[in-house]
Amino acid sequence: MRLALTAREAGLMSCHVCGQLARHAGGAHLRCPRCHAPLHLRKPASISTTWALIVASAILFVPANLLPMMTTSSLLGTQRDTLMSGVVFLWQSGSWPLAAVVFFASVVVPLLKILALAWLTASVQRRSRRRLMQRARLYRLVEFVGRWSMLDIYVITLLVALVNFRGIATIEAGPAAIAFGAVVVLTMFAAMSFDPRLIWDPLAGPDDLARHD
């Protein structure tokens, strides 16, 4: 007999906005008695929504890396930069700490998010009971670190606005910027649609997950 009891086992659900506990009375569209937010035992359709968003961001990550991110036109000619060539440029011009920051924010973070969320969702689907704590920590990391991949979008925005010297030098944003922005937004939505409580649910015994999914 375990001493620990989850809200669901106790027939309760907690409001995701204010934390109020309410009885899980079988109704489909319950609202929090305290703050009136919609109540769910678990986030609705968490696994399928997360999968859809992960797949979409993985697909868009390809054009985000292959297409040009920006085009620099100057007296010296025209130069097209992809995400990686921008990092290489920073590295070669001697500012390697910044090259590392940009590489981390635009390549490592989106990849880590896609892979980590895929692993989390797959393990939750298998009702795995292993490495619970590591997975809980990984989810927290993914949620925390995700916003930083927006970095390159802001860099492009400022470069386009600042380097606007007609006849001397101009910078234009490329199609990769749209794909990359979409990757950032979709991975953020994917992290939000994943319900970390599903990681711990298998401990509660053979309750069927599909019913609440």
Partner: protein
């Protein structure tokens, strides 16, 4: 609706474990006993400090948006950009989805967050708690992850380093206002005890 549970029972929002919320001394933080998720904090003098910091942030937000952020000087010509100006440059170039994303994350959502926090906290400070505030606080919660001013500031530094070898880089007043804005918003977030919102109306003022 509510059950006969001890008043301080709560469920961890990350692993759903029921547990009693320990009495927190000022400055203490409660974490879930099973998964370690953040549950609650008891910051000293929460309401007044949060309100003061959020009002400061609102002023800094105005400065950060009204003045130029950064500028560039090249062969006697000077270009200065404001936040909205940078968004417009992208927009007019046909990069409308990206421009909209920058507008939302760097400008609109941080503004909404500040405004909604004030809408909720000022009546609370005046001792007028009404259930009608709840939707505003829900809006704060849904908008919060999308405000990314601190990432924007780092993006500004990266782009300035990229440009520093081809032109003279100038930092505008809004740059410093934005740096201070990030600091005050972070401190306001740390000072805020969200439990204040859902407790019974406070008899007197403060935490």
């Amino acid at each position: 609706m509510s059950l006969t549970l001890p008043a301080q029972t709560l469920a961890c929002h990350e692993c759903d474990l029921l547990q009693t919320e320990p009495a927190l001394a000022p400055g203490q933080t409660a974490r879930c006993v099973r998964c370690g998720a953040f549950l609650a904090r008891n910051p000293p003098d929460s309401l007044d400090r949060t309100l003061a910091l959020t009002l400061t942030a609102a002023i800094l937000y105005v400065i950060a948006n009204a003045w130029p952020l950064v500028g560039l000087e090249m062969q006697g010509r000077r270009v200065e950009v404001t936040l909205i100006g940078a968004v417009q440059a992208l927009w007019s170039e046909g990069m409308t989805p990206v421009a909209a994303l920058v507008f939302g994350t760097a400008l609109l959502f941080p503004l909404l967050e500040l405004a909604m926090i004030l809408v909720v906290l000022i009546p609370l400070r005046l001792g007028r708690v009404s259930p009608r505030m709840a939707p505003f606080f829900r809006l704060v919660r849904s908008v919060q992850p999308w405000g990314m001013v601190e990432v924007f500031l780092l993006g500004m530094l990266v782009s300035l380093v990229k440009l520093s070898h081809m032109a003279t880089v100038l930092l505008g007043p809004a740059f410093w206002a934005m740096a201070a804005l990030i600091l005050t918003v972070t401190l306001a977030g740390r000072a805020f005890d969200t439990r204040l919102l859902w407790q019974a109306p406070p008899a007197g003022a403060g935490a």
